[in-house]
């Protein structure tokens, strides 16, 4: 086991880590300059920064949650309404890379008004980003 030096922000997101030497001066400098807190974490493996965060007590690591959405369909005809269940409020939905809004409850529907392929991306703090492609068929396809 080795000590992994973790610096994290006020949202408990990990900013950077190092197995190298870490002085008290560096810890103080990171706090004063970047408002990053410090955690000494005993581990024998590297940490995926984008898939873990520091727990509320500031003394451990928590893995990101994963989305488990259920789509009523992912290949549909025009005018079909797709229901997505299994999501929670606070989930930000991106359509083709552009934010389409943040869910205020657990209800999300997609209405197929144009043919083509559409990228749906789900993002939420401390969740692994989830991607799905929706195919909308034009009339007669």
């Amino acid at each position: 086991m080795a000590t992994l030096h973790i610096f994290y922000d006020s949202n408990k997101d990990i900013a950077w880590t190092s197995f190298g030497a870490c002085s008290a001066e560096l810890i103080a400098e990171q706090k004063s300059s970047n408002n990053l807190d410090y955690l000494a974490y005993e581990t024998d493996q590297l940490l995926e920064i984008s898939h873990n965060y520091v727990n509320g007590a500031g003394n451990g690591i928590v893995a990101y949650s994963t989305f488990s959405p259920t789509y009523s369909a992912t290949s549909v005809d025009l005018d079909t309404v797709i229901n997505i269940t299994g999501l929670s409020s606070g989930t930000e939905v991106f359509l083709d890379g552009v934010s389409a809004g943040t869910m205020s409850d657990s209800t999300l529907t997609l209405t197929a008004v144009q043919a083509g392929e559409f990228s749906i991306e789900l993002k939420k703090s401390h969740f692994v980003t989830h991607n799905t492609t929706i195919t909308v068929k034009r009339r007669g396809e």
């Binding site: 359509l95 205020s104 409850d105 999300l108 529907t109 144009q114 034009r138």
Partner: protein, 62 residues
């Protein structure tokens, strides 16, 4: 929350194109409108109508 699946560069023309029937279906609709007399009897003398009718008569619905 509902999101309409539409491309950012969509125009009225691209939206219409997705909803139109395929070309052969559009022509068939036109043929049947002529056949029903919706364009008058003169329309039944057009080559559009007579040529399609000739094919339909040659291969009637079984």
């Amino acid at each position: 929350m509902n999101i309409n699946l539409v491309k950012t560069n969509a125009t009225y023309a691209t939206k219409r194109a997705d909803y139109y029937p395929p070309g052969n279906e559009q022509l068939d609709l036109l043929y049947h409108a002529i056949d029903a007399g919706e364009f008058g009897n003169d329309a039944k003398t057009s080559s559009f109508y007579t040529e399609l009718k000739a094919v339909k008569d040659k291969y009637p619905k079984s």
